[in-house]
């Protein structure tokens, strides 16, 4: 034993254990998020359970969500009675929905009071635009208040009607958001134009008439759309359904409010698969509902991608130039040492400090001055003097600059000297060598740096909270209104979405699966980008090794 310790073998094993623990932690974390995030869309069975505690018996309908096992002592401390001297207490969380009727979405129940559970095929789950899900049974379908189908006939009758209502709803949404939105935008631009002319003293009678005329035109088309919407609204209100909850209450739900109606217990595996994919698609492409706790995350995906793209445009040239300077132009010595220290510090400064700097310098200082110089007509409302997409991208560009520099520099350093010397010997200038030979060769390295920068920016949240991300942006920063890309607008972001929905939302329990799903998406994107970058880098190394020989 003593010799064994003296040989140092146990310590080597312990060291090996440390790296094993790290690996287990990473993989465990990814698996945890993947498992929790992926099940969110799976249509799970709805159970009807009989529950009897000291207050009496009741019927509960819903989906199982979670189980917690408390030891007897813990249960006693929390004040839960334990039957039959059991050594533990099992508590289960069931999602009962019907928040409009009961005031809550979830219910903790003690498993010891559970009498039986069934999963009848006729239980339905209705996703609604308001008040969360509805669980129960479909009783009847109504058209203009008259029942047209009841009992078993109701289900086949209601499905096409839901499709119709959804279709109408989308039309209304389109009119309201796109058409009216662009009219409002045009009117606002007119107002600013008028104000600008006023400030310049150029608002003569002619201009005034022109503006009034344009305004009247917009008003007219606005009225037209309003009547269209009113018509559609009437059409959509035609149908409704009557449903019964587990404990026998009936509720009438207008189909306008219904997003989706399913009978998960009656589905076979193929149907469940199809439903899963449909849900997944909706998650990625739809707007959020109910204070972000339901619906999709499309604006967050869109905002993240756009922000990252603007950032990439900003960061790449600067990062590459800095790296080129350090490798190709600067004499290795004091200056490069200082630059290296600066790069390391840029990489090491806490991201929140970038946020503070971005807010103070970009938003208030530069943005405020831009407003004073170019947008006097908008005052006192700020245009660029408020957090927005451009400032967020710029801040993150600064934050990811070291990533691009380090990676490009590594690529440049691996290009054999002989290549450069050959080019110079043939009479090319330094710039030509750089532009025609060196940079094209190091393109994969730059690419690696850019991808890593993008991955970093996509996951960064703290600085964005200060310089432009909001929990709910009314408009996307890219739309059909001139000038199409609105760099001054605020935007939504996946990482911030996770923070906001997970921690700031009023209904954390309901939103949690959504947060896991969002996390999974984000983590997959980031891992994917990183793996890609690592691959590019490795193949690059191999190639240059071959060149060297």
């Amino acid at each position: 034993m003593k010799n064994w310790f003296k040989s140092g073998t146990p310590w080597v094993w312990l060291n090996a254990g440390a790296i094993s623990i790290c690996l287990i932690m990473v993989i465990g974390l990814v698996v945890l998020i993947a498992a929790r995030g992926m099940v969110h869309f799976w249509p799970v069975n709805i159970y009807q359970i009989q529950y009897q505690d000291d207050k009496g018996e009741k019927t509960i309908v819903g989906e199982w969500v979670d189980t917690v096992i408390l030891s007897a002592a813990q249960a006693k401390e929390a004040g839960y009675p334990i039957l039959n001297n059991a050594d533990h207490l099992e508590q289960r969380l069931i999602k009962t929905g019907n928040r409009d009727l009961t005031g809550r979405d979830f219910l903790w129940i003690d498993a010891q009071y559970l009498k039986n559970e069934k999963k009848p095929e006729d239980l339905i789950k209705i996703e609604r635009r308001e008040w969360g899900n509805f669980y129960g049974r479909l009783k009847a379908v109504k058209e203009n208040g008259k029942i047209i189908a009841e009992g078993d006939e109701a289900y086949p009758e209601v499905l096409p009607r839901i499709d119709r209502a959804r279709d109408l709803y989308e039309q209304i949404e389109h009119l309201q958001k796109k058409e009216i939105g662009s009219i409002n935008y045009a009117l606002e631009r007119l107002r600013l134009k008028q104000r600008r002319l006023e400030l310049e003293g150029a608002l003569d009678e002619h201009a005034r008439q022109e503006i009034t005329r344009e305004k009247a035109e917009y008003q007219q088309s606005y009225q037209k759309i309003r009547t269209q919407i009113a018509k559609l609204n009437q059409a959509i209100m035609r149908d409704s359904l009557v449903a019964e909850t587990g404990d026998g209450q009936t509720a009438e739900i207008p189909l306008k409010k219904v997003v989706n109606l399913t009978r998960p217990n009656a589905m076979n595996i193929g149907q469940k698969m199809a439903e899963y994919l449909r849900q997944l698609y909706a998650f990625v492409t739809e707007d959020p509902r109910e204070a972000n706790t339901e619906g999709g995350i499309f604006p967050a995906i869109f905002g993240t991608i756009l922000m990252v793209m603007v950032m990439a445009v900003l960061v790449t040239p600067f990062g590459v130039i800095a790296a080129v300077y350090m490798r190709e132009y600067a004499k290795q010595g004091f200056i490069t040492r200082v630059i290296r220290i600066a790069v390391n510090n840029l990489a090491g400064v806490p991201s929140i400090v970038y946020g503070v700097f971005g807010l103070g310098f970009f938003v208030y200082f530069i943005g405020g001055n831009i407003d004073d110089l170019f947008y006097p007509e908008a005052a006192p409302a700020p245009v660029f003097g408020t957090p927005g997409l451009l400032w967020a991208s710029l801040t993150l560009a600064l934050l990811t600059l070291p990533v691009v520099i380090v990676s490009t520099e590594e690529g440049l350093s691996r290009i054999p000297k002989s290549v450069r010397e050959g080019s110079l010997a043939l009479g090319a200038t330094k710039l030509e060598t750089l532009w025609r030979i060196v940079l094209p060769m190091s393109r994969p390295a730059m690419m690696t740096g850019l991808i890593l920068a993008v991955a970093r920016a996509a996951g960064e949240v703290a600085p964005l909270m200060l310089v432009g991300v909001v929990k709910l942006a009314p408009t996307l920063p890219l739309d059909g209104n001139y000038p199409f890309l609105h760099l001054e607008r605020k935007f939504m972001h996946l990482g911030f979405h996770i923070y906001d929905v997970g921690f700031q939302s009023p209904n954390v329990e309901a939103a949690r699966p959504l947060v896991y799903a969002t996390s999974l998406l984000l983590i997959m994107v980031i891992i994917g980008l990183n793996l890609f970058a690592i691959n590019v880098r490795n193949s690059l190394r191999e190639r240059y090794k071959a060149l060297d020989n």
Partner: protein, 756 residues
């Protein structure tokens, strides 16, 4: 021949060979060199810009405030009587001079021109015997009359914008009616009075010439028919001897009454019982000299006293643990050696201006314990008024002039002591470190102590490093030195991905998954730290006795892979065994057991959770750099050591680690920098309460999280905004020092390796 060649060349010259083009090439080359140099140096500019911009925003916090005279003019409407009080309106446009004959002279502050003069309606037999103000920001004043009655007036400045120009019109109102209110039924003159008007309830207290103390309370009665509700009035004669009273103050709650004699006998009464006043405390508040002025500090929780020896002191009712209040000295400022004649508190901050009888005027901030401005007027002041925004004051001097000064004093709240030291805040039993920045009310005393935030930052970083340093360094040593190259190719990218994981996801998992899990399975978490290492050791002990064929089927350097199932099994075992241990040794619930036996409280989002989550985030940072340093230790050193008969482990400890130690040091430094600046994990995994508690089971608030929480709501250029920038600057400097140190060490190490 040469001619021919030349001719040939010029004639058939390729366009790219022309001299102009060649020059253009060289020019491009030169321009590019400048451009690239600019871009390269831009990196230095960026980091310097960040530092200096932060400094630029923080700098005004430490600027010495200034005051300068603007205008001097004669006292307006001198014939209307002697000044008993001066006041200013918010925009510093109009001042009001209250005289001993009941005139109120409104004058333009810029040049002293009288604008308007109002007179208190007095009957023939009434003369003014006393005067006092109510809350200064409400503009309420009261005159005590010789027949035992009181008139309450209110100045009101109406702001209109005719032709888009601001016009301020002063008015006076009588909030309790134009008729004098008979306070003393025996019609003795009122020598001192104090009053507070509230929304529903108002109180006037006055001392009569024969030493009685009369109190009148007004309750507003809701009237259905008019806005002018009527008042129900109750008169009480308080059972307090008032014959010696020189100063009298009633707080805004109309509950605490402060009475003082000239010689410093201070009595504080509780008036919450309407019938009888209860004595709270009695103190001698001056040691030598006499009290010469007394006012409330803004918020009316502290009393400011000036004495004839030139000392300004702040006293406050302090509540002890038995909920008993006593009147105690909080702090004092030495103004001069002359009697203080007037105290003029700021109306929106905890600042105060004082004047003594030799012409010294000074502005202090109580919380910051800072003397902001001290000037001497050419002649002594007799009356002083600080404007509501505290950016100007007027002083009447004994030569019959009014002097109007501007004051530039934006951030008096901040001093070295108020940011880092213990400060005795109002309503706190003792000096403490507190961060509590925002409140909607002007009366609030902002508490800008960064100490609890710095403490929280270091605490979070400490627990994170406690987990991360051993795991990362041990892992790095193994990966760099013992691990098979094939496995290393898998491990390195995994760790890189670990580094790339967004901290918002780690924070979210820590807050919503790990924290409840740890709360439920606390003993399991602790048992992992013991059981897993033991299991690894145990397994390695058994390993040597396994059949050789089995051992040899696994190549050297794959120990870490074999250990994965071992560790998972050990963890699972710990999970199974820990409830059993918990019921054997800790009565089934370790949290309750700790609480009852040791009084250790448990917060769900605590340092343990943060330590695990942030440790996870820091491991890859430390690992990568340390692994790099260990891996690039020159091979001939290790080979030499092994050749001399050292075991691999001895080589590792004595040669490799020693050589790579600067690199390991810099890895730890950079990891620490990352832990200190990490925002999202602490934001989500702690309760964000700025407490100073070392316990691993309590939460904290860090500098970074604090910025993230409060920055969006901080008003631009306010003190709060600048203090948050200061917090960012502290973080910047902190990480700058660590990173620079680490980078220098690494550069030296690289040079050393290349020379070896």
């Amino acid at each position: 021949m040469t001619e021919i060649i030349e001719k040939h060349m010029t004639e058939k010259q390729h366009p790219m060979a022309s001299p102009a083009y060649q020059q253009w090439r060289l020019l491009k080359d030169k321009l590019a060199a400048y451009g690239v140099r600019g871009g390269g140096l831009g990196v230095i500019v960026a980091i310097v810009l960040i530092f200096f911009y932060l400094l630029y925003v923080v700098y005004p916090l430490f600027v010495t405030p200034s005051a300068e005279p603007v205008k001097t003019y004669s006292v307006p409407a001198l014939e209307s009587g002697k000044t008993v009080f001066l006041s200013m309106e918010e925009q510093n446009e109009i001042g009001a001079r209250f005289t001993d004959t009941g005139h109120i002279v409104f004058f333009r502050i810029a040049d002293g021109q009288p604008i308007k003069e109002d007179v208190i309606p007095l009957a023939e037999n009434q003369i003014i015997t006393s005067f006092n103000h109510g809350r200064l920001d409400k503009g309420v004043f009261a005159y005590g009359l010789s027949d035992g009655s009181v008139i309450v007036v209110k100045t009101y400045y109406k702001v209109t914008y005719p032709n888009d120009v601001r016009l301020i019109t002063p008015e006076i109102q009588f909030p309790l009616g134009k008729q004098p209110i008979q306070l003393d039924s025996e019609a003795n003159p009122l020598t001192r009075l104090t009053l507070r008007l509230g929304e529903d309830e108002s109180t006037i207290i006055a001392a009569t010439a024969d030493g009685r103390l009369m109190m009148s309370r007004f309750m507003r009665e809701e009237s259905l028919f008019s806005d002018e509700g009527s008042f129900e009035r109750t008169n009480t004669a308080l059972d307090i001897d008032a014959s010696q009273i020189a100063f009298m103050l009633l707080d805004k709650e109309q509950r605490d009454l402060y009475l003082a004699n000239r010689n410093g006998d201070m009595r504080v009464f509780d008036l919450s019982n309407k019938e009888a006043a209860r004595l709270i405390d009695k103190q001698q508040v001056v040691n030598e000299g006499e009290i010469s002025a007394m006012e409330f500090l803004n918020g009316e929780l502290s009393v400011l006293m000036g004495d004839t020896k030139g000392l300004l002191s702040q006293w406050s009712l302090v509540r002890d643990e038995h909920n008993h209040r006593s009147f105690e000295l909080i702090r004092s400022f030495k103004v001069s050696d002359h009697p203080i004649i007037q105290i003029s508190p700021e109306q929106r901050r905890k600042g105060v201006m004082v004047a003594d009888d030799s012409g010294v005027i000074a502005i202090y901030h109580t919380t910051a314990e800072r003397e902001l401005i001290k000037r001497t007027l050419p002649t002594a002041a007799s009356m002083l008024s600080l404007s509501p925004r505290a950016n100007a004051f007027v002083a009447q001097t004994i030569d019959g002039k009014i002097r109007f000064w501007h004051v530039d004093n934006e951030h008096p709240e901040v001093s070295w002591k108020s940011i880092w030291g213990k400060v005795w805040y109002e309503s706190y039993p003792k000096p403490e470190y507190i961060w509590q920045s925002s409140s909607s009310s002007n009366d609030f005393e902002p508490k800008y102590s960064l100490t609890p935030l710095l403490f929280g930052t270091l605490k979070a970083a400490f627990y994170a490093m406690l987990l991360a340093v051993p795991l990362a360094l041990m892992g790095a040593a193994y990966t760099a030195y013992f691990m098979a190259p094939e496995m290393r190719k898998l491990v390195k990218p995994t760790v890189e991905i670990m580094e790339a994981l967004p901290t918002v996801i780690l924070g979210f998992l820590a807050g919503l998954w790990l924290a409840p899990f740890v709360e439920l399975h606390l003993l399991f978490i602790f048992s992992i730290f013991i059981i897993v290492p033991l299991a690894v050791l145990g397994f390695s002990w058994c390993w040597q006795y396994l059949p050789k064929t089995l051992r040899q089927s696994i190549p050297a350097g794959w120990e870490a892979a074999i250990l994965v199932p071992v560790i998972i099994l050990a963890t699972w075992f710990a999970f199974l065994i820990s409830p059993v241990f918990e019921s054997w040794f800790f009565d089934g619930d370790i949290k309750m057991w700790m609480n009852t036996n040791f009084g250790i409280g448990y917060d769900q989002r605590n340092a343990l959770v943060v330590g695990i989550a942030m440790g996870f985030a820091v491991i890859p940072t430390i690992f990568s750099i340390a692994e790099d340093a260990i891996f690039s230790v020159p091979k001939h050193l290790t080979v030499g050591s092994l050749a001399l008969g050292a075991t691999p482990w001895q080589t590792m400890i004595r040669v490799v680690l020693l050589t790579a130690s600067p690199g390991i040091f810099s890895a730890v430094m950079i990891g620490l920098g990352r832990a200190v600046g990490e925002t999202m994990i602490v934001l989500m995994a702690t309760g964000n309460t700025p407490v100073m508690d070392l316990s691993i089971f309590q939460g904290m608030r860090t500098l970074a999280a604090n910025i993230a929480v409060e920055m969006p709501e901080a008003e631009l250029d306010s003190t709060h905004y600048r203090v948050l920038f200061l917090a960012a600057l502290v973080l910047f400097v902190f990480t700058f020092v660590f990173n620079t140190l680490a980078e220098l060490v690494r550069q030296n190490l690289r040079n050393k390796y290349s020379s070896l």
